[in-house]
């Protein structure tokens, strides 16, 4: 017996099915019944029933790539905040090898890094590493936080969603499994990407999202010149000063972040 439909919203304690089904993620068994433990959408695959959470915290897993911020420098490691209940550490030996150097010259507090989770031990110490393609420190750009469970939705099938955003906005976009997204490009385009990503997060549980994202990108990019003009002409009549201000902003971001 099954009491719910595929993609139905359930809440903790809802009875999903009888025992003939297998209990998957986000569910638990009690008195021969499978119940939901989360607020989420039901996913039925064959005889396996699971609940995809609408909201969650990132739990570090070996092999994940994450975006973290340096919060502390210790004698031989950096401590990083990775948007999770467990903070991570990056051993100095992973960056320098056997060489001894001052840690804060390489990465200082506030720097944002792209890392790999090397190991999570039984006491939930998260060891991070920088070995791998594309891993390292970010210079410039903006950070956007989304719910970690919505990361697959943002990436899309074989990266379809994320590639669309990259192509349309001409921004570099990097998504960490921990729900932190880094976007760098033209400042106005960064804003567009931010809006789109936030929209994806809000509507991740609905279907037909890819089309709506395409529409939203089109309107945001199509209207850009029009809306920008009207806004700017109200604020200031001297249009020539605009580009200058923009470049200043661009330069301003780099030293802050980098």
């Amino acid at each position: 017996m099954i009491f719910v439909e595929d993609k139905e919203i359930v809440i903790p304690g809802d009875i999903l099915a009888d025992e003939e089904y297998n209990s998957g993620r986000g569910t638990f068994k009690e008195n021969n019944k499978i119940c939901s433990s989360l607020v989420g959408l039901v996913a039925i695959r064959d005889k396996k029933i699971s609940v995809i959470p609408l909201q969650s915290k990132y739990i570090p897993k070996r092999g994940d790539v994450v975006i973290g911020e340096v919060t502390d420098i210790r004698f031989s490691m950096w401590n990083l905040e990775i948007n999770s209940p467990y903070s991570g550490f990056l051993p100095a030996s992973d960056v320098f090898g056997k060489e001894k150097r001052e840690l804060n010259r390489t990465f200082d507090v506030g720097d944002v890094l792209f890392l790999r989770v090397v190991d999570v031990d039984e006491v939930k110490k998260v060891k991070l590493g920088l070995k791998g393609r594309g891993l390292g420190k970010f210079r410039g750009g903006i950070l956007i936080n989304i719910t970690p469970t919505k990361v697959p939705r943002l990436i899309g099938k074989k990266g379809s969603m994320i590639n669309m955003i990259k192509d349309e906005t001409k921004c570099e976009v990097i998504v960490g499994q921990n729900g932190v997204v880094w976007v760098k490009g033209d400042p106005t385009m960064e804003r567009v990407a931010e809006k789109v990503i936030n929209m994806i997060e809000e509507q991740a549980h609905t279907s037909g999202l890819t089309d709506r994202v395409r529409d939203m990108l089109a309107t945001l990019l199509g209207r850009e010149p029009g809306s920008d003009d009207s806004e700017e002409s109200e604020n200031s009549e001297i249009e020539e000063s605009e580009p200058e201000e923009e470049t200043k902003e661009d330069e301003g971001i780099n030293p802050n972040e980098g």
């Binding site: 903790p12 989360l38 607020v39 915290k57 467990y86 939930k124």
Partner: protein, 243 residues
């Protein structure tokens, strides 16, 4: 006097109950729950019942920096109940007092059995219950709101927790006491249950009841909880727009 407790005559209010606000003996005050009202909290809920206005916010699971509280095999659920100075008629001195410390403790104990704390070892889940306006029954309102906020934060739970009070005022056993009924009444029995299994996670009694009256009060409160439970469910589902 024989009191028949059924689901059907709930909220009819046809017979004059003699209650100050003309409610039937088994009628709840008007209520409203909304989930996800705070931007910066991981989960939040706003609840109104009668003259009570309560906000609950949940942060976490997050890193626990107080080493001595840390549990190696599970998360710690910390609750803080606080009443705003303007929440009552006479200004309440801000800060924790005997009563709010007690309610913080019982709220965390009422919620703990429902939460899968073992999924987040060495971390903490922080629940804040802020009473903006008080009119009797804030602890129940607080627990009910906190449970919605926990679900909204995506914290895995066995079941929702829902709280409601029954008691005795003017010699009658009644549901959901208002401030006056609580103060002038003979007894107040706040309970919290997990509605699916009916497990009781909080049971307090202030005042005197006979064994029979206590049974009546308990049944009334459990029925009240079940009604509130439906509103909780609706509040969470409403947040995501459909069904």
């Amino acid at each position: 006097m024989i009191i028949i407790i059924t689901n059907t005559n709930l909220g009819t209010g046809t017979e004059t109950s003699g209650r100050a606000d003309n409610r039937a003996f088994d009628e709840l005050r008007k209520m409203k729950i909304e989930a996800g009202v705070l931007e910066r909290a991981d989960g939040s809920a706003y609840l109104e019942i009668g003259g009570n206005k309560v906000l609950a916010a949940v942060y976490g699971p997050r890193e626990l920096f107080v080493r001595r509280l840390m549990q190696p095999n599970k998360a710690v659920l910390r609750c803080k109940y606080n009443m705003a100075p303007f929440s009552v008629d006479d200004r309440k001195r801000p800060g924790p007092d005997r009563r709010s410390v007690e309610i913080s403790k019982i709220a965390s104990e009422a919620l703990t059995p429902a939460v899968f704390l073992e999924k987040f070892p060495r971390s903490t889940i922080d629940v804040f219950i802020e009473v903006i306006e008080a009119e009797g029954g804030t602890r129940c309102a607080g627990i009910t709101a906190a449970s919605v906020a926990l679900a909204d934060a995506g914290i895995p739970m066995r079941d929702m927790v829902v709280a409601c009070a029954a008691g005795k005022s003017d010699g009658k056993v009644i549901l959901d006491l208002s401030e006056v009924e609580d103060k002038e009444g003979q007894a107040d029995v706040p309970i919290a249950i997990m509605p699916r299994t009916g497990e009781i996670t909080l049971l307090q009694m202030d005042g005197n009841l006979t064994e029979e009256e206590f049974e009546q009060a308990l049944d009334l409160a459990i029925n009240g909880c079940k009604i509130i439970s439906e509103k909780q469910k609706a509040a969470i589902k409403n947040r995501y727009g459909d069904e």
